[in-house]
Symmetry: C2
Subunit: 249 residues, 2 copies
Protein backbone atom coordinates (compact mmCIF):
# COMPACT_ATOMS: atom_id res chain seq x y z
CA UNK A 1 0.00 0.00 0.00
CA UNK A 2 1.09 3.50 -0.74
CA UNK A 3 1.25 6.62 1.38
CA UNK A 4 -1.24 9.14 0.12
CA UNK A 5 -1.10 12.90 0.43
CA UNK A 6 -3.89 14.24 2.59
CA UNK A 7 -6.76 15.21 0.35
CA UNK A 8 -7.64 18.84 -0.16
CA UNK A 9 -4.46 20.23 1.25
CA UNK A 10 -2.40 20.54 -1.87
CA UNK A 11 -5.04 21.15 -4.52
CA UNK A 12 -5.62 19.73 -7.99
CA UNK A 13 -2.70 18.13 -9.76
CA UNK A 14 -2.03 17.31 -13.38
CA UNK A 15 0.55 14.77 -14.40
CA UNK A 16 1.83 14.31 -17.94
CA UNK A 17 4.81 14.03 -20.18
CA UNK A 18 5.94 17.43 -21.34
CA UNK A 19 5.15 17.88 -25.04
CA UNK A 20 7.74 20.52 -25.71
CA UNK A 21 10.89 20.10 -23.73
CA UNK A 22 13.16 17.36 -24.96
CA UNK A 23 12.95 14.95 -22.09
CA UNK A 24 16.42 14.76 -20.67
CA UNK A 25 15.28 14.63 -17.09
CA UNK A 26 13.56 11.30 -16.51
CA UNK A 27 12.72 10.21 -19.99
CA UNK A 28 9.32 8.60 -20.20
CA UNK A 29 8.46 9.69 -16.69
CA UNK A 30 5.49 11.89 -16.21
CA UNK A 31 5.81 14.84 -13.92
CA UNK A 32 3.62 17.32 -12.15
CA UNK A 33 2.74 20.21 -14.44
CA UNK A 34 1.24 22.55 -11.89
CA UNK A 35 3.24 24.63 -9.47
CA UNK A 36 2.30 24.75 -5.80
CA UNK A 37 0.81 28.19 -6.20
CA UNK A 38 -1.30 27.12 -9.17
CA UNK A 39 -2.58 24.17 -7.23
CA UNK A 40 -3.38 26.36 -4.28
CA UNK A 41 -5.32 28.78 -6.46
CA UNK A 42 -7.27 25.92 -8.04
CA UNK A 43 -7.99 24.49 -4.63
CA UNK A 44 -9.88 27.65 -3.78
CA UNK A 45 -12.34 27.26 -6.64
CA UNK A 46 -12.78 23.51 -6.35
CA UNK A 47 -14.41 21.09 -3.95
CA UNK A 48 -13.50 17.55 -2.99
CA UNK A 49 -16.10 14.93 -3.82
CA UNK A 50 -16.16 11.20 -3.09
CA UNK A 51 -17.92 8.47 -5.06
CA UNK A 52 -18.53 4.85 -4.19
CA UNK A 53 -17.33 2.09 -6.49
CA UNK A 54 -19.69 1.86 -9.45
CA UNK A 55 -21.23 5.29 -8.92
CA UNK A 56 -21.94 7.40 -11.98
CA UNK A 57 -20.17 10.74 -12.02
CA UNK A 58 -21.96 12.15 -15.01
CA UNK A 59 -23.84 10.94 -18.04
CA UNK A 60 -23.12 11.47 -21.69
CA UNK A 61 -25.03 14.44 -23.04
CA UNK A 62 -25.57 16.15 -19.69
CA UNK A 63 -24.74 19.82 -19.33
CA UNK A 64 -21.06 20.08 -18.62
CA UNK A 65 -20.78 22.36 -15.63
CA UNK A 66 -17.57 21.09 -14.13
CA UNK A 67 -14.36 19.25 -14.86
CA UNK A 68 -12.85 16.70 -12.51
CA UNK A 69 -9.38 15.91 -11.32
CA UNK A 70 -8.70 12.57 -9.69
CA UNK A 71 -7.08 12.53 -6.27
CA UNK A 72 -7.29 8.77 -5.81
CA UNK A 73 -9.04 5.83 -7.39
CA UNK A 74 -9.85 4.87 -10.96
CA UNK A 75 -12.56 6.13 -13.30
CA UNK A 76 -13.82 4.77 -16.60
CA UNK A 77 -15.16 6.92 -19.43
CA UNK A 78 -17.48 4.97 -21.69
CA UNK A 79 -20.08 5.29 -24.36
CA UNK A 80 -23.14 3.15 -24.47
CA UNK A 81 -23.99 2.15 -27.99
CA UNK A 82 -27.64 1.88 -28.99
CA UNK A 83 -27.22 -1.72 -29.99
CA UNK A 84 -25.41 -3.87 -27.50
CA UNK A 85 -22.29 -3.43 -25.50
CA UNK A 86 -20.40 -0.38 -24.47
CA UNK A 87 -16.93 0.78 -25.34
CA UNK A 88 -14.71 2.06 -22.59
CA UNK A 89 -12.91 5.01 -24.12
CA UNK A 90 -10.44 5.49 -21.31
CA UNK A 91 -9.44 4.55 -17.82
CA UNK A 92 -8.50 7.56 -15.76
CA UNK A 93 -6.12 7.54 -12.84
CA UNK A 94 -4.90 9.86 -10.16
CA UNK A 95 -3.83 13.29 -11.41
CA UNK A 96 -5.83 12.83 -14.60
CA UNK A 97 -8.31 15.43 -15.76
CA UNK A 98 -11.70 14.56 -17.20
CA UNK A 99 -15.02 16.10 -18.08
CA UNK A 100 -13.99 18.27 -20.98
CA UNK A 101 -16.99 18.94 -23.13
CA UNK A 102 -18.17 19.46 -26.66
CA UNK A 103 -20.66 22.21 -27.26
CA UNK A 104 -21.31 22.45 -23.57
CA UNK A 105 -22.17 18.78 -23.04
CA UNK A 106 -20.23 15.81 -21.78
CA UNK A 107 -19.22 13.47 -24.57
CA UNK A 108 -19.26 10.25 -22.60
CA UNK A 109 -20.45 8.84 -19.33
CA UNK A 110 -18.13 8.23 -16.41
CA UNK A 111 -18.25 5.84 -13.50
CA UNK A 112 -16.03 5.07 -10.57
CA UNK A 113 -14.20 1.78 -11.10
CA UNK A 114 -12.94 1.88 -7.52
CA UNK A 115 -13.99 4.18 -4.70
CA UNK A 116 -12.72 7.57 -5.75
CA UNK A 117 -11.93 11.00 -4.44
CA UNK A 118 -11.92 13.86 -6.94
CA UNK A 119 -11.67 17.60 -7.16
CA UNK A 120 -14.72 19.10 -8.81
CA UNK A 121 -13.86 22.33 -10.62
CA UNK A 122 -16.75 24.40 -11.99
CA UNK A 123 -15.95 25.38 -15.54
CA UNK A 124 -16.99 28.98 -14.97
CA UNK A 125 -14.34 29.29 -12.29
CA UNK A 126 -11.89 27.40 -14.44
CA UNK A 127 -12.37 29.77 -17.28
CA UNK A 128 -11.66 32.65 -14.93
CA UNK A 129 -8.53 30.88 -13.82
CA UNK A 130 -7.37 30.66 -17.42
CA UNK A 131 -7.81 34.37 -17.96
CA UNK A 132 -5.81 35.13 -14.83
CA UNK A 133 -3.06 32.62 -15.34
CA UNK A 134 -1.87 32.20 -18.93
CA UNK A 135 0.59 29.56 -17.88
CA UNK A 136 -2.17 27.37 -16.61
CA UNK A 137 -3.67 27.09 -20.07
CA UNK A 138 -0.32 25.95 -21.25
CA UNK A 139 -0.42 23.10 -18.79
CA UNK A 140 -3.88 22.13 -19.89
CA UNK A 141 -2.60 21.95 -23.44
CA UNK A 142 0.20 19.71 -22.32
CA UNK A 143 -2.26 17.42 -20.59
CA UNK A 144 -4.51 17.29 -23.63
CA UNK A 145 -1.61 16.35 -25.87
CA UNK A 146 -0.83 13.59 -23.46
CA UNK A 147 -4.41 12.34 -23.49
CA UNK A 148 -4.44 12.47 -27.25
CA UNK A 149 -1.45 10.24 -27.32
CA UNK A 150 -3.12 7.87 -24.91
CA UNK A 151 -6.14 7.74 -27.16
CA UNK A 152 -3.87 6.83 -30.04
CA UNK A 153 -2.35 4.08 -28.00
CA UNK A 154 -5.84 2.83 -27.29
CA UNK A 155 -6.41 2.77 -31.04
CA UNK A 156 -3.35 0.55 -31.33
CA UNK A 157 -4.75 -1.84 -28.81
CA UNK A 158 -8.10 -1.96 -30.56
CA UNK A 159 -6.47 -2.44 -33.95
CA UNK A 160 -4.60 -5.53 -32.84
CA UNK A 161 -6.01 -8.66 -34.38
CA UNK A 162 -5.25 -11.18 -31.71
CA UNK A 163 -6.68 -10.96 -28.24
CA UNK A 164 -3.39 -12.00 -26.68
CA UNK A 165 -1.73 -9.01 -28.29
CA UNK A 166 -4.49 -6.71 -27.10
CA UNK A 167 -4.18 -7.93 -23.57
CA UNK A 168 -0.42 -7.67 -23.62
CA UNK A 169 -0.58 -4.09 -24.85
CA UNK A 170 -3.14 -3.29 -22.21
CA UNK A 171 -1.06 -4.75 -19.42
CA UNK A 172 1.97 -2.96 -20.77
CA UNK A 173 0.03 0.28 -20.55
CA UNK A 174 -0.75 -0.34 -16.90
CA UNK A 175 2.85 -1.28 -16.27
CA UNK A 176 4.10 1.92 -17.87
CA UNK A 177 1.65 3.84 -15.78
CA UNK A 178 3.20 2.45 -12.63
CA UNK A 179 6.64 3.01 -14.07
CA UNK A 180 5.84 6.62 -14.93
CA UNK A 181 4.96 7.16 -11.32
CA UNK A 182 8.11 5.47 -10.16
CA UNK A 183 6.64 2.17 -8.99
CA UNK A 184 7.89 -1.38 -9.65
CA UNK A 185 7.49 -2.60 -13.19
CA UNK A 186 6.90 -6.33 -13.15
CA UNK A 187 4.05 -6.33 -10.67
CA UNK A 188 0.80 -5.06 -12.19
CA UNK A 189 -2.30 -4.02 -10.28
CA UNK A 190 -5.62 -4.42 -12.09
CA UNK A 191 -8.27 -2.22 -10.52
CA UNK A 192 -10.87 -3.08 -13.15
CA UNK A 193 -12.82 -6.26 -13.82
CA UNK A 194 -12.14 -8.71 -16.65
CA UNK A 195 -15.27 -7.56 -18.30
CA UNK A 196 -14.11 -3.93 -18.20
CA UNK A 197 -10.83 -4.98 -19.71
CA UNK A 198 -12.78 -6.67 -22.47
CA UNK A 199 -14.77 -3.52 -23.09
CA UNK A 200 -11.61 -1.47 -23.30
CA UNK A 201 -9.58 -3.67 -25.60
CA UNK A 202 -12.51 -4.55 -27.83
CA UNK A 203 -12.85 -8.26 -27.22
CA UNK A 204 -15.35 -10.59 -25.63
CA UNK A 205 -15.09 -11.56 -21.99
CA UNK A 206 -14.35 -15.23 -22.77
CA UNK A 207 -11.62 -14.15 -25.15
CA UNK A 208 -9.94 -12.17 -22.39
CA UNK A 209 -10.15 -15.07 -20.03
CA UNK A 210 -8.53 -17.35 -22.58
CA UNK A 211 -5.84 -14.79 -23.32
CA UNK A 212 -4.90 -14.67 -19.66
CA UNK A 213 -4.66 -18.43 -19.65
CA UNK A 214 -2.53 -18.45 -22.78
CA UNK A 215 -0.10 -16.01 -21.21
CA UNK A 216 0.17 -17.98 -18.01
CA UNK A 217 0.51 -21.29 -19.86
CA UNK A 218 3.32 -19.87 -21.92
CA UNK A 219 5.01 -18.81 -18.72
CA UNK A 220 4.92 -15.12 -19.51
CA UNK A 221 2.63 -14.14 -16.71
CA UNK A 222 1.61 -15.25 -13.28
CA UNK A 223 -1.89 -14.44 -12.08
CA UNK A 224 -1.58 -13.96 -8.32
CA UNK A 225 -5.27 -13.18 -7.99
CA UNK A 226 -7.90 -11.21 -9.86
CA UNK A 227 -6.27 -7.92 -9.16
CA UNK A 228 -2.62 -8.77 -9.25
CA UNK A 229 -0.49 -10.22 -12.01
CA UNK A 230 3.25 -10.55 -12.21
CA UNK A 231 5.34 -10.57 -15.33
CA UNK A 232 7.61 -13.59 -15.29
CA UNK A 233 9.24 -13.41 -18.69
CA UNK A 234 9.82 -9.73 -19.30
CA UNK A 235 11.47 -10.39 -22.65
CA UNK A 236 8.64 -12.51 -24.02
CA UNK A 237 6.18 -9.99 -22.67
CA UNK A 238 7.69 -7.07 -24.54
CA UNK A 239 8.15 -9.22 -27.60
CA UNK A 240 4.47 -10.02 -27.66
CA UNK A 241 3.61 -6.36 -27.28
CA UNK A 242 5.80 -5.42 -30.22
CA UNK A 243 5.28 -8.33 -32.57
CA UNK A 244 1.58 -7.65 -32.51
CA UNK A 245 -0.21 -7.85 -35.75
CA UNK A 246 -2.35 -4.78 -36.09
CA UNK A 247 -3.41 -3.77 -39.50
CA UNK A 248 -2.79 -6.58 -41.93
CA UNK A 249 -1.45 -6.45 -45.49
Amino acid sequence: MRVQPIAGVRGPAIRALDPWLPGNPGYGRTHQLLSDSERARLAVISSVVRFKKGAEIYREGADADAVFNIISGVVKAYTQSPGNGELIAAFLFSEDLFGLAQEGRYVNSTKAVTPIEVYRIPIAALRGQCLTDANFEFHVIAKLCHELRQAQHHAFVLASKHTVAKLTLFLQMLAQLEFAKGGPVNEIYLPMSRSEIAEYVGASLPAISRAFRTLTTRGVLQVRNRQHVKIIDQRAFEKLANDRQEAPC
Copy 2:
Protein backbone atom coordinates in the same frame (compact mmCIF):
# COMPACT_ATOMS: atom_id res chain seq x y z
CA MET B 1 -13.66 20.97 -58.11
CA ARG B 2 -13.84 23.57 -55.43
CA VAL B 3 -12.94 27.23 -55.32
CA GLN B 4 -9.97 27.70 -53.06
CA PRO B 5 -8.97 30.74 -51.08
CA ILE B 6 -5.69 32.15 -52.27
CA ALA B 7 -2.97 30.71 -50.12
CA GLY B 8 -1.04 32.86 -47.72
CA VAL B 9 -3.37 35.77 -47.77
CA ARG B 10 -5.52 34.97 -44.80
CA GLY B 11 -3.18 32.97 -42.63
CA PRO B 12 -3.54 29.77 -40.63
CA ALA B 13 -7.04 28.67 -39.72
CA ILE B 14 -8.37 26.25 -37.11
CA ARG B 15 -11.80 24.76 -37.41
CA ALA B 16 -13.56 22.89 -34.62
CA LEU B 17 -16.67 22.54 -32.56
CA ASP B 18 -16.57 24.83 -29.57
CA PRO B 19 -16.10 22.82 -26.39
CA TRP B 20 -17.59 25.37 -24.01
CA LEU B 21 -20.39 27.35 -25.50
CA PRO B 22 -23.65 25.48 -25.79
CA GLY B 23 -24.04 25.20 -29.50
CA ASN B 24 -27.12 27.15 -30.32
CA PRO B 25 -25.72 28.61 -33.50
CA GLY B 26 -25.32 25.82 -36.04
CA TYR B 27 -25.37 22.73 -33.89
CA GLY B 28 -22.84 20.19 -35.03
CA ARG B 29 -21.25 22.62 -37.41
CA THR B 30 -17.63 23.42 -36.96
CA HIS B 31 -16.57 27.01 -37.12
CA GLN B 32 -13.44 29.05 -37.44
CA LEU B 33 -11.82 29.58 -34.06
CA LEU B 34 -9.28 32.19 -35.02
CA SER B 35 -10.08 35.83 -35.58
CA ASP B 36 -8.74 37.62 -38.63
CA SER B 37 -6.14 39.41 -36.56
CA GLU B 38 -4.94 36.18 -34.97
CA ARG B 39 -4.63 34.60 -38.39
CA ALA B 40 -2.72 37.58 -39.67
CA ARG B 41 -0.30 37.43 -36.77
CA LEU B 42 0.26 33.71 -37.30
CA ALA B 43 0.79 34.31 -41.00
CA VAL B 44 3.78 36.43 -40.15
CA ILE B 45 5.57 33.64 -38.32
CA SER B 46 4.63 30.87 -40.72
CA SER B 47 5.51 29.82 -44.23
CA VAL B 48 3.49 28.07 -46.91
CA VAL B 49 4.82 24.70 -48.02
CA ARG B 50 3.58 22.31 -50.69
CA PHE B 51 3.97 18.55 -50.83
CA LYS B 52 3.28 16.13 -53.65
CA LYS B 53 0.92 13.23 -53.15
CA GLY B 54 2.66 10.52 -51.15
CA ALA B 55 5.40 12.81 -49.86
CA GLU B 56 6.49 12.40 -46.27
CA ILE B 57 6.09 15.50 -44.14
CA TYR B 58 7.94 14.23 -41.12
CA ARG B 59 8.87 10.95 -39.55
CA GLU B 60 8.00 9.55 -36.16
CA GLY B 61 10.67 10.29 -33.59
CA ALA B 62 12.19 13.24 -35.45
CA ASP B 63 12.83 16.48 -33.58
CA ALA B 64 9.60 18.42 -33.58
CA ASP B 65 10.53 21.89 -34.72
CA ALA B 66 7.25 22.98 -36.28
CA VAL B 67 3.53 22.37 -36.30
CA PHE B 68 1.48 22.35 -39.49
CA ASN B 69 -1.88 23.69 -40.50
CA ILE B 70 -3.55 22.37 -43.62
CA ILE B 71 -4.67 24.84 -46.25
CA SER B 72 -5.80 22.24 -48.76
CA GLY B 73 -5.47 18.53 -49.33
CA VAL B 74 -5.49 15.51 -47.04
CA VAL B 75 -2.78 14.15 -44.75
CA LYS B 76 -2.48 10.83 -42.96
CA ALA B 77 -0.80 10.35 -39.60
CA TYR B 78 0.38 6.81 -39.11
CA THR B 79 2.60 4.60 -37.05
CA GLN B 80 4.61 1.82 -38.50
CA SER B 81 4.65 -1.18 -36.25
CA PRO B 82 7.78 -3.28 -35.97
CA GLY B 83 5.94 -6.36 -37.13
CA ASN B 84 3.82 -5.92 -40.19
CA GLY B 85 1.32 -3.35 -41.21
CA GLU B 86 0.83 0.21 -40.18
CA LEU B 87 -2.06 1.83 -38.39
CA ILE B 88 -3.36 5.13 -39.66
CA ALA B 89 -4.10 7.14 -36.53
CA ALA B 90 -5.90 9.96 -38.29
CA PHE B 91 -6.77 11.57 -41.55
CA LEU B 92 -6.29 15.33 -41.43
CA PHE B 93 -8.15 17.82 -43.54
CA SER B 94 -8.11 21.49 -44.29
CA GLU B 95 -7.98 23.71 -41.21
CA ASP B 96 -6.67 20.86 -39.11
CA LEU B 97 -3.58 21.22 -36.99
CA PHE B 98 -0.93 18.53 -36.71
CA GLY B 99 2.61 17.98 -35.51
CA LEU B 100 2.12 18.36 -31.79
CA ALA B 101 4.90 16.55 -30.04
CA GLN B 102 5.77 14.50 -27.02
CA GLU B 103 9.00 15.28 -25.24
CA GLY B 104 10.12 17.30 -28.23
CA ARG B 105 9.64 14.58 -30.82
CA TYR B 106 6.89 13.78 -33.28
CA VAL B 107 4.78 10.85 -32.19
CA ASN B 108 3.86 9.57 -35.63
CA SER B 109 4.82 9.91 -39.24
CA THR B 110 2.78 11.94 -41.69
CA LYS B 111 2.35 11.73 -45.43
CA ALA B 112 0.35 13.63 -48.00
CA VAL B 113 -2.61 11.55 -49.18
CA THR B 114 -3.33 14.09 -51.88
CA PRO B 115 -1.19 17.00 -53.06
CA ILE B 116 -1.24 19.39 -50.12
CA GLU B 117 -0.55 22.95 -49.19
CA VAL B 118 0.22 23.67 -45.53
CA TYR B 119 1.34 26.40 -43.23
CA ARG B 120 4.49 25.50 -41.40
CA ILE B 121 4.68 27.21 -38.01
CA PRO B 122 7.96 26.91 -36.08
CA ILE B 123 7.19 25.94 -32.50
CA ALA B 124 9.54 28.55 -31.08
CA ALA B 125 7.54 31.25 -32.78
CA LEU B 126 4.32 29.55 -31.78
CA ARG B 127 5.32 29.53 -28.18
CA GLY B 128 6.00 33.23 -28.41
CA GLN B 129 2.58 33.71 -29.92
CA CYS B 130 1.02 31.95 -26.97
CA LEU B 131 2.74 34.24 -24.51
CA THR B 132 1.54 37.30 -26.40
CA ASP B 133 -1.98 36.17 -27.05
CA ALA B 134 -3.64 34.29 -24.21
CA ASN B 135 -6.77 33.82 -26.25
CA PHE B 136 -4.87 31.89 -28.85
CA GLU B 137 -4.00 29.19 -26.36
CA PHE B 138 -7.66 28.91 -25.63
CA HIS B 139 -8.33 28.13 -29.26
CA VAL B 140 -5.62 25.52 -29.32
CA ILE B 141 -7.28 23.88 -26.34
CA ALA B 142 -10.57 23.87 -28.20
CA LYS B 143 -8.93 22.23 -31.18
CA LEU B 144 -7.26 19.62 -29.04
CA CYS B 145 -10.54 18.74 -27.38
CA HIS B 146 -11.98 18.30 -30.82
CA GLU B 147 -9.16 16.05 -31.92
CA LEU B 148 -9.49 14.03 -28.76
CA ARG B 149 -13.10 13.43 -29.61
CA GLN B 150 -12.16 12.42 -33.12
CA ALA B 151 -9.67 9.96 -31.72
CA GLN B 152 -12.43 8.49 -29.58
CA HIS B 153 -14.61 8.14 -32.62
CA HIS B 154 -11.77 6.34 -34.31
CA ALA B 155 -11.69 4.00 -31.35
CA PHE B 156 -15.36 3.29 -31.97
CA VAL B 157 -14.66 2.41 -35.54
CA LEU B 158 -11.82 0.11 -34.57
CA ALA B 159 -13.89 -1.53 -31.87
CA SER B 160 -16.64 -2.52 -34.26
CA LYS B 161 -16.69 -6.23 -34.86
CA HIS B 162 -18.00 -6.35 -38.39
CA THR B 163 -16.20 -4.78 -41.27
CA VAL B 164 -19.43 -3.48 -42.77
CA ALA B 165 -20.05 -1.52 -39.57
CA LYS B 166 -16.51 -0.18 -39.61
CA LEU B 167 -16.84 0.99 -43.16
CA THR B 168 -20.22 2.54 -42.52
CA LEU B 169 -18.90 4.46 -39.53
CA PHE B 170 -15.95 5.60 -41.56
CA LEU B 171 -18.09 6.82 -44.41
CA GLN B 172 -20.39 8.50 -41.93
CA MET B 173 -17.38 10.35 -40.56
CA LEU B 174 -16.48 11.63 -44.00
CA ALA B 175 -20.08 12.60 -44.60
CA GLN B 176 -20.24 14.55 -41.36
CA LEU B 177 -17.03 16.25 -42.31
CA GLU B 178 -18.61 17.54 -45.47
CA PHE B 179 -21.75 18.40 -43.55
CA ALA B 180 -19.78 20.35 -40.95
CA LYS B 181 -18.39 22.45 -43.73
CA GLY B 182 -21.79 22.97 -45.23
CA GLY B 183 -21.51 20.62 -48.20
CA PRO B 184 -24.05 18.08 -49.49
CA VAL B 185 -24.51 15.04 -47.30
CA ASN B 186 -25.34 12.05 -49.46
CA GLU B 187 -22.41 12.38 -51.85
CA ILE B 188 -19.13 11.31 -50.31
CA TYR B 189 -15.67 12.01 -51.68
CA LEU B 190 -12.94 9.49 -50.83
CA PRO B 191 -9.52 11.06 -51.20
CA MET B 192 -7.74 8.01 -49.84
CA SER B 193 -7.18 4.55 -51.30
CA ARG B 194 -9.03 1.41 -50.25
CA SER B 195 -5.89 0.20 -48.65
CA GLU B 196 -5.61 3.37 -46.58
CA ILE B 197 -9.20 2.95 -45.49
CA ALA B 198 -8.32 -0.57 -44.42
CA GLU B 199 -5.39 0.69 -42.40
CA TYR B 200 -7.58 3.26 -40.69
CA VAL B 201 -10.53 1.07 -39.77
CA GLY B 202 -8.39 -1.91 -38.80
CA ALA B 203 -9.37 -4.44 -41.41
CA SER B 204 -7.73 -6.19 -44.34
CA LEU B 205 -7.95 -4.78 -47.83
CA PRO B 206 -10.09 -7.69 -49.12
CA ALA B 207 -12.45 -7.21 -46.19
CA ILE B 208 -12.97 -3.59 -47.16
CA SER B 209 -13.58 -4.54 -50.74
CA ARG B 210 -16.20 -7.07 -49.68
CA ALA B 211 -17.82 -4.56 -47.33
CA PHE B 212 -18.25 -2.11 -50.19
CA ARG B 213 -19.83 -4.83 -52.25
CA THR B 214 -22.16 -5.80 -49.43
CA LEU B 215 -23.34 -2.22 -49.08
CA THR B 216 -23.96 -1.81 -52.78
CA THR B 217 -25.66 -5.20 -53.03
CA ARG B 218 -28.00 -4.26 -50.20
CA GLY B 219 -28.81 -1.07 -52.05
CA VAL B 220 -27.46 1.21 -49.36
CA LEU B 221 -24.66 2.67 -51.40
CA GLN B 222 -23.75 3.40 -54.96
CA VAL B 223 -20.09 3.39 -55.94
CA ARG B 224 -19.80 5.96 -58.71
CA ASN B 225 -16.08 5.40 -59.05
CA ARG B 226 -13.10 4.84 -56.81
CA GLN B 227 -13.32 8.27 -55.27
CA HIS B 228 -17.01 8.93 -55.20
CA VAL B 229 -19.82 7.09 -53.48
CA LYS B 230 -23.41 8.10 -53.02
CA ILE B 231 -25.70 7.09 -50.21
CA ILE B 232 -28.90 5.70 -51.65
CA ASP B 233 -30.72 4.52 -48.57
CA GLN B 234 -29.96 7.15 -45.95
CA ARG B 235 -32.10 5.39 -43.36
CA ALA B 236 -30.43 2.02 -43.78
CA PHE B 237 -27.06 3.75 -43.76
CA GLU B 238 -27.60 5.44 -40.42
CA LYS B 239 -29.16 2.29 -39.05
CA LEU B 240 -26.04 0.33 -39.90
CA ALA B 241 -23.87 2.96 -38.29
CA ASN B 242 -25.86 2.82 -35.06
CA ASP B 243 -26.70 -0.86 -34.83
CA ARG B 244 -23.06 -1.65 -35.00
CA GLN B 245 -21.84 -4.27 -32.63
CA GLU B 246 -18.77 -2.98 -30.89
CA ALA B 247 -17.87 -4.54 -27.67
CA PRO B 248 -19.86 -7.70 -27.14
CA CYS B 249 -21.45 -9.04 -23.97
